[in-house]
């Protein structure tokens, strides 16, 4: 008898719990947004900052009642897939998104992955926001990719010009990891430098992506005695080691890169040797950051223990997707409507002070609006923190 009572009580409790959770879930419809990117291996930091930015923002939205698009309020669910920086897995990830009926995906993080998923995305009506620079992804007839950041061919010339005018730089050496993104960034950087009149004294030296000791790699580059050493497409993990090795080998010139870096990582890995290092910042500075950006940083930090400066840029993709859907709710299942809306879309930028706008750009570089407008912030590292060198815009 006692056992029966216990079973009944347990069943009743389970039923109530199930009903409660069903009620809680049923309060808002779920809007699934995908992420396909690298969250393991040497480049894990790139994808993890994406994924965590999306998860932190989604949790914030859900905690505050959901996101209203048209007449419906949605809870945002992030569906993630680790492509391990492997194009084959990136395709599998995008196919998984298609199977789940997801139409909006952030990622992939690298060139070959972003190129590989294009047929899957276009065939299945998926808009995706890569962090990869090949122009053919964003130029017609390509239609479904939207560049989620500022490309190196947009930031590089601005940096070189500044250095030529302000620091008297005349010669440059380029070094890159031996994989598609850094190599294409190096080639773009060399072309831009030559076009501006810089003499490129070394550009052939490359290193394995998993290199941890850069002294042997940099030794021949240092013999060319450049004024500027460009770390093309350098990952946050390799940047401090390269800077440290270059300085220890006696390099006195300027070191720069067109990728975003993390001040804490530079401080730990290179210390004062990183002073003067120029990089493209996450799309925020203390002056630019709005209260909402500061709250995002706080929430991210509470959720994951530590903030990643790259998320200053990576917070934007999800916001662009949601705001564009809000502008045209029919785009939730119709990416053609999304693409049409992109041409005229404009909304207040919640992460920047002043009257900055969220809008799609890219007419100059791609001939169509296939890039999110985020500020081009160029930073210089000094004593443990980034200081803003200059801020520009991309059209």
């Amino acid at each position: 008898m006692q056992r029966r009572t216990l079973i009944k009580a347990a069943l009743t409790a389970i039923t109530f719990t199930a009903l409660q959770s069903t009620t809680a879930l049923a309060a808002n419809t779920t809007l699934k947004i995908g992420f396909v990117g690298v969250t393991s291996g040497p480049a894990a930091a790139w994808g993890i900052s994406n994924q965590r930015s999306m998860e932190a923002r989604a949790a914030w939205i859900n905690e505050t009642g959901g996101y209203k698009i048209g007449e419906t309020t949605y809870d945002v669910e992030i569906v993630s897939f680790d492509d391990q920086k492997d194009p084959k897995r990136a395709i599998a990830g995008m196919e998984k998104m298609a199977q789940q009926g997801i139409h909006y995906v952030v990622g992939p993080n690298v060139d070959d992955g972003a190129a590989a998923v294009r047929p899957v995305a276009e065939a299945n009506g998926i808009m995706y926001f890569p962090y990869a620079f090949p122009k053919e992804l964003y130029q017609a007839p390509a239609s479904n990719a939207v560049l989620g950041m500022v490309a190196n061919y947009q930031s590089g010339p601005a940096i070189y010009k500044y250095l030529m005018e302000e620091k008297g730089v005349k010669t440059a050496a380029f070094i890159a990891a031996n994989e598609s993104d850094p190599l294409s960034q190096r080639d773009g950087g060399v072309a831009a430098a030559k076009a501006l009149g810089l003499e490129v004294v070394s550009s052939n030296v490359t290193y394995q992506v998993d290199t941890t000791d850069f002294t042997p790699v940099l030794t021949p580059v240092m013999r060319t005695q450049p004024d500027l050493l460009v770390l093309s497409g350098v990952s946050p993990a390799s940047a401090p080691q390269l800077i440290r090795s270059a300085r220890e080998l006696g390099f006195q010139g300027v070191i720069s890169t067109e990728t975003a870096q993390d001040a804490g990582v530079l401080a730990e890995g290179a210390g004062d040797l990183a002073n003067g290092f120029i990089s493209v910042g996450g799309a925020s500075t203390p002056e630019l950051a709005s209260p909402m950006m500061n709250e995002f940083v706080d929430r991210y930090t509470k959720m994951f223990g530590e903030y990643n400066d790259e998320s200053n840029t990576k917070v934007y993709a999800l916001e662009y997707i949601l705001e564009t859907l809000k502008a045209d709710p029919s785009a939730i299942t119709d990416v053609n409507a999304f693409q049409t809306t992109m041409d005229t879309f404009e909304a207040p930028n919640p992460y920047m002070n002043g009257d900055a706008k969220l809008r799609y750009v890219g007419m100059s570089s791609f001939g169509q609006r296939r890039q999110v407008a985020v500020p081009l912030v160029v930073n210089v590292y000094q004593d443990g923190e980034f200081k803003t060198l200059f801020v520009a815009e991309v059209d």
């Binding site: 969250t39 393991s40 291996g41 040497p42 480049a43 894990a44 930091a45 993890i48 900052s49 031996n178 052939n204 030296v205 490359t206 290193y207 394995q208 998993d210 941890t212 000791d213 002294t215 042997p216 790699v217 030794t219 021949p220 580059v221 946050p236 993990a237 390799s238 401090p240 080691q241 220890e248 080998l249 006696g250 993390d262 804490g264 990582v265 730990e268 890995g269 290179a270 210390g271 994951f304 223990g305 530590e306 990643n308």
Partner: protein
């Protein structure tokens, strides 16, 4: 030329240390420990936490790396490898287990230490510069010396202590060692702990030079396997020679072939394939023989 030689000695000494732990575990248990690189990474993170974060003296932080990894290695052997080896005659069972442990450790590293590159303050400042022909930061020289001393100490342990003799007996013939009274279960655990400890030691040493990050485990394991293949699986002297040879090949290749792009490792892999086709057992042949 001086710079190439110095880079070769430095790289060779650190590589040899990485390979030693892997080859020891293989010799004792016939286990290809795919998680060796992850153990190296944990060693780096432990030193980072104690020395870089909490300000504990470097030597103590290094000792903590060794102790942590020795305990971790012992636990992994006792609760994971020993039961699998006992219950399965198929060698691939331990390989799959090792791969699974590597994934698990990667996930734990992400959970506890995050995804970022980490580094610690330099243990010695300054750079030795001989007329710009030979440039070597003092901390690299110190780490190189410490690595060589550690290798010598390890060889001494294996040659002149009771534990070392027992481990060597175990590696030569497990059954015969058991018949001679060696406690096989205990010394397997000690050997695995020692191998893991070596990974922790080298991780702790190198975090001062290269820093450490989540993604370093897999590539480190691959390099360690290359060294073991060059030198001969399960042979201590083979691991040392494998490390030195790989270090010098890398230093020479990076200096001489730099203008041709990153073909150094391409040539190393091609050389390794040709070498293994001619001498599949590696330079030093069979374990402990």
């Amino acid at each position: 030329m001086e710079q190439i030689l110095a880079n070769g000695v430095y790289l060779g000494s650190q590589y040899a240390m990485i390979a030693l732990g892997l080859t020891l575990i293989f010799a004792l248990m016939n286990v290809l420990n795919f998680a060796h690189g992850q153990m190296y990474v944990i060693g780096g993170f432990v030193t980072y936490t104690f020395y870089g974060q909490w300000g504990v003296p470097f030597v103590l932080a290094l000792a903590m790396s060794c102790i942590t990894l020795a305990i971790l290695g012992a636990l992994i052997e006792k609760f994971l490898f020993a039961p699998v080896i006992k219950g399965s005659a198929r060698e691939e069972s331990t390989m799959l287990l090792a791969a699974g442990i590597a994934f698990l450790l990667d996930a734990l590293i992400l959970l506890f230490f995050g995804e970022k590159q980490r580094g610690v303050p330099k243990i010695v400042n300054g750079v030795f510069n001989y007329d710009f022909r030979l440039i070597m930061p003092y901390d690299r020289i110190l780490i190189c010396v410490l690595a060589i001393l550690s290798i010598v100490a390890f060889i001494g342990l294996m040659q002149y202590t009771k534990t070392g003799r027992a481990l060597r007996a175990l590696a030569q013939d497990r059954t015969a060692a058991q018949l001679m009274g060696v406690n096989v279960g205990r010394y397997s655990m000690v050997g695995f702990a020692l191998g893991a400890m070596l990974a922790g030691l080298v991780g702790g040493l190198l975090v001062t030079i290269t820093g450490v990050n989540l993604g370093m485990g897999g590539p480190t394991s691959i390099k360690a396997f290359m060294m073991v293949m060059i030198g001969g699986a399960g042979v201590i002297s083979g691991a040392i020679w494998g490390g030195i040879i790989l270090g010098f090949m890398e230093a020479i290749g990076l200096a001489v072939l730099s203008q041709y792009g990153d073909i150094t490792y391409l040539l190393i892999f091609v050389s390794l394939m040709i070498f293994l086709a001619i001498r599949p057992q590696g330079l030093m042949g069979k374990p402990w023989g």
